[in-house]
Symmetry: C2
Subunit: 388 residues, 2 copies
């Protein structure tokens, strides 16, 4: 029982419903349409919008009138309203972007980095270069699990429980951080292939597999915020020991690491990724050993997805990273192996497996969604409404 529910809370609640409708809509809509959408009267809509306009959250612009009736206004994000910054922090580069209500995104800066935690200072400096009073919340996507929201662990970079509270300190704007695979899934769930689904899953396949379970548009985090290591379940019977400390992980058979290992490459970041891409190209060209490696990879992917579908029953599964290549090149094999892993009675209704539509921008857009979730929080909104 957190807080009471009073008339003022009611107003904030309905204003958030309105803002979220604007944020989530594919096309902008008018104030009258908003009233119908939310099931409120036109007078109430006018009052809600009026306050939000004064708080610089919404802006009304004259709608070009094509139909009959008195002219109305479109509800658009306020030009001086809050924005979210989003950072996609990768193993060798980062991107900073600004995202408005509604999802319009502007890339601000991008750079490579030296794989030491010093990069956080560089990112902070970039944020400072672009900082504006409009910046409300910064969403930060990084690879690797983040325990309890502040202890970052990226084994590939040799980062062992890096303390984020020391790197992202009080001089940062309000910041929310999460895992890239989870945020990519969140982006698909909010603005991509999984939009509107009650139960879905997303997997990002890079060197290994990370993913997330998406329920009603929310990415599940787990008790210590480190849910999503689906790649470290023994789903395909591998006998090998995994870098994570477990034997037989799914990720040993799916993803770039599996390809690289097969061709004797180094499982590092620079050359490893190139080699994996090279294998995919050779497989497309028909090289028998590359074809075999690709087939094994795709088959293992499908087998694992079937197993997970038995347990979690997603409506659809979207893929990003190398998963996009796998589904493009070997969809029938993946689906056949998925069916093989599905309990017989489920095979007539298998989960849809598809490439994500947000693509490479997944972590960035997911970070923005996470930041906007924080901006559209009742307490924060109440404060903003009453201060201005």
């Amino acid at each position: 029982m957190p807080q009471t529910m009073t008339s003022a809370d009611l107003r904030v609640h309905n204003q958030i419903r309105l803002l979220r409708a604007v944020h989530d809509a594919a096309e902008p809509f008018t104030r009258a349409e908003a009233a119908r959408l939310l099931g409120i009267g036109r007078n109430t809509a006018a009052a809600l919008v009026g306050e939000l306009e004064r708080a610089r959250l919404l802006h009304e612009v004259p709608a070009e009138s094509g139909a009959r009736g008195r002219p109305t206004t479109m509800l658009v994000p306020h030009p001086e309203g809050p924005v979210a910054f989003a950072v996609d922090f990768r193993e060798d580069s980062w991107t900073l972007a600004s995202v408005e209500l509604g999802g319009a995104i502007t890339e601000l800066e991008a750079a490579e980095h030296d794989r030491t935690p010093a990069v956080f200072a560089a990112i902070r400096a970039a944020v400072a270069r672009h900082e504006t009073p409009r910046l409300a919340v910064l969403g930060f996507a990084t690879s690797g699990p983040i325990r309890d929201g502040h202890r970052l662990h990226i084994s590939h970079l040799g980062w062992d429980e890096v303390e984020l509270n020391e790197l992202v300190g009080d001089d940062w704007p309000a910041t929310v951080i999460d895992n890239d695979a989870r945020l990519a899934g969140l982006a698909e769930s909010r603005r991509g292939a999984l939009r509107g689904m009650g139960t879905a899953m997303h997997f990002h396949i890079d060197f290994d597999i990370g993913g997330t379970l998406l329920l009603d548009g929310d990415a599940q985090r787990g008790a210590h915020r480190i849910a999503g290591e689906f790649g470290h379940m023994p789903l395909t019977g591998s006998p090998l020991a995994c870098m994570c400390g477990v034997r037989g992980c799914w990720s040993l058979d799916v993803g770039a690491n599996a390809l690289v290992r097969r061709f004797g490459g180094e499982p590092g970041y620079g050359t490893g990724r190139e080699l994996a891409q090279e294998v995919l190209r050779r497989a497309e060209a028909g090289d028998p050993e590359a074809v075999s490696a690709l087939d094994d990879n795709a088959a293992a992917l499908g087998r694992g997805l079937g197993a997970l579908a038995n347990a979690l029953d997603p409506e659809a599964i979207s893929l990003s990273g190398m998963g996009v290549d796998l589904i493009r090149l070997r969809r029938p094999l993946i689906e056949a192996q998925c069916a093989e892993g599905l309990m017989a009675f489920r095979r007539d209704e298998p989960p849809t497996i598809m490439a994500g539509t947000v693509g490479e921008q997944g972590p960035l857009r997911g970070a923005a969604e996470m930041a906007w979730d924080a901006i559209l929080d009742p307490d924060r909104l109440r404060e903003r409404l009453h201060s201005g």
Copy 2:
């Protein structure tokens, strides 16, 4: 955006908060305590309770005064208020009970059955024998997955997609049906070992393993309402083919079926369960082969739990059915194997593994919770408040 949020909805919302507080509380509390708990004024609490009293949902009884201050009243379920009926339908027997607000349970009837769908008529007759105007919703727990909420599949009974809409027809009271393993988990989450946890899991181990992911006190159902078949993921490397149509299922190594197979018994319900219990007894007595079988079973359980914890990051995992015996007899082995399956960086914070505290009543109590969730639905409550 389903419904609007008006002042009347606010009242219902707060009344539901109050009713749920009463329902979930371990000990009854007074009206003044309720006001503090919900963060509302005493006057508001009086108004809310007054309406709920008139609607026969709450009842105020004088509290024995031990302390100073003006005497107050305890909030208890109304003696003429709605009740939920709960049915636990097992493979050879069923139980019918009545459950009040707050969880007080009264067993009404129990019987064996002949394993044909005709048993539904017998259960309906039992419900009729005990039916009262107080009956609001019937919660029904059955083993086996129920696709889309109405197609029941129990392979052990030879029931292949039995159409529940034909068996539970218009002559039934309002009925909600779900899977027994999921409802056992719901019971643990609401009234048992998992109470108050944000992310937890429950597994019921019988002939095989069924389970559920519990998030904020809610059991996840999946897109087709058939989530939870964790036992049919290949987590332990078994080479065998499973009855479900997949190869290598976890359930081939954990549960009564694994014990029965090892000792050459029939994997049927009557003798199979007895044989499994016999093996457990012999293992306790020190019989080497039984000990080995029990060890294998427990080790496979732990190994699978570790894998699942990597993916879903539960705070705790509770067990029912044969899982209670396994945790009692082989906790160290289970925990060691779980740690082996956990990614190295998680091993210092493993999920708590424990026996459920609701025990055999899990499905029944879970069915009651599900039914009460339906009773405490805003629409239903609004109707009840305005009709009386």
